[in-house]
Amino acid sequence: MAKPYNPVSAADYLPRHLLQEIQLKRLQNIVKHEYDNVPFYRQRMDEKGVKPEDIKTLKDIQLLPFTMKKDLRDTYPFGLFAVPMSQIVRLHASSGTTGKPIVVGYTKEDVESWSNCMARALAAGGVTSTDIIQNSYGYGLFTGGLGAHYGIETLGATVVPTSGGNTERQIMLMRDFGVNGICCTPSYFIHLCEKAQEMGVNMKDLPVRVGFFGAEPWTQEMRERIEALSGIETFDIYGLSEMSGPGVGIECECHCGLHIFEETFYPEIIDPDTGEALPDGERGELVFTTINKFGMPMIRYRTRDLTRIIPEPCACGRTLRRIDRISARSDDMFIIRGVNVFPSQIESALLSVDSAALPHYRITLTRRPDGLDDMTIEIEVKEEQFSDDMQKMAALQKKFSHEIERILGIRAMVKMVQPGALPRSEGKAKRVFDLRNAK
């Protein structure tokens, strides 16, 4: 359904040539700012023999070196900051999967620009200043909580800053406050819906009509399940803390890809093996340059997310280009016995056994002394699936194994575990534990 036009979204509809002019000016500006202020980056550019003056067109971005996640770790904590600490007003840090976390710093203007993008994302989902939005992203070092919070306030809507956890109280507040929209991870929302059911609350009877789900890749099956459980309209929101946080891209009412806020985050698609830039329409690794961020700009940051830029204009009228929904993060992808596996494939398998809701699960990869790799998938048993009959439980376990083998083509050891046995996270859920090279 078409959403009312909100003035905050003006930049979504710039004529392409104007947008490109802005992009070029901003790109030239940010590259010079980086070159002048970040020794690490100046050295990288010098090694490639490229100077800020060489950026004459948008295409010249391809002359610039990439920034990798490893570079952020190697320069921990403040090595990539481009302004003195006196101008930094906020620090965030990601939960590093291994070793040091990734730290990001923002100037006052950076926070404003980020909040503005987040506000436009909410507006694309039809949120207005009259709405009450519950923000169940975790507040803290994780960018989700404060990022969404500032966006909701910037839009002028009312924020209910519940953060994650205390699910029963979240449901009570949703009902008592008449909450119209929610921001959280898709898996947490499914958990909310299930808990509401247990409490005798039907989400469909509540005024909540819209949800912004991100911070973890989610599948079409999960979207259908959420919509069936709650009756709300779901919007996939994309972001990553290296860019700023949530609000890098958003679905519009057409739900056919995510518009990128291109005047702030300049997108490219590259061949992940060769690093060659690919034309719009071709699938590859998503790369971003933050062209309007000064505290810690990122030049050609490799996201490890695989997608394509959709070349056609969108029916909603926005001129911002779109990317396909990211159903898999290449970071999460792993190779076992020569097969590429995405956790989303495992989610599909789990949902095909029981479409009611995605169970909590964890994938662990181990290596035998003889070099053969094993994949173990622990699945939390749900009360509805649990049976006192051992044979039925064995059959359920077998069904999970069978579906996983059918979808992946390789076998996994499936282990049913107690509800709550697997650790929860309020940010992006960590699903894969690769212990193959652990000592």
Binding site: V381, K382, E383, Q385, D388, D389, M393, M416, Q418, P419
Partner: protein, 142 residues
Amino acid sequence: MYLKQLSVFVDNKPGALYAPCSTLADAGVNLSTIFLADTKDFGIMRIITKDAEKALAALRENNFAVKTTNVLAIEIEDVPGALSKVLKAMESKGLNVLYMYAAMGTSGKPVMIFRFDDADQALEKLSETDCKIISSEQFFAR
């Protein structure tokens, strides 16, 4: 005539039984019988208590997966061959025993707890035999 049995899903790892047991103890539940069935991956802890409602609520509150099932308690004569006589009677009635385990009866005689795939049918058929079915009241009258 049935006993209400609670089944709790537990991990098969050291200490996994501690959590449900301490939950029940904290709730002041008095356990009559505990029986654990396990595979290499997981276990099912089966509990019989006269505080079944209280136990169920406490376990659910603490996020355990719990199911309640009707089981039958049958007193076995303390003589050789008594159990096989009972099993024979069940077989002759075409009843399918999913599992059984021992509990202590009122008169000091052993009591076996039986779970059938169809408890109603089992009760009906067994009342035609000389199997001594112990009611819930008798079972807990200790």
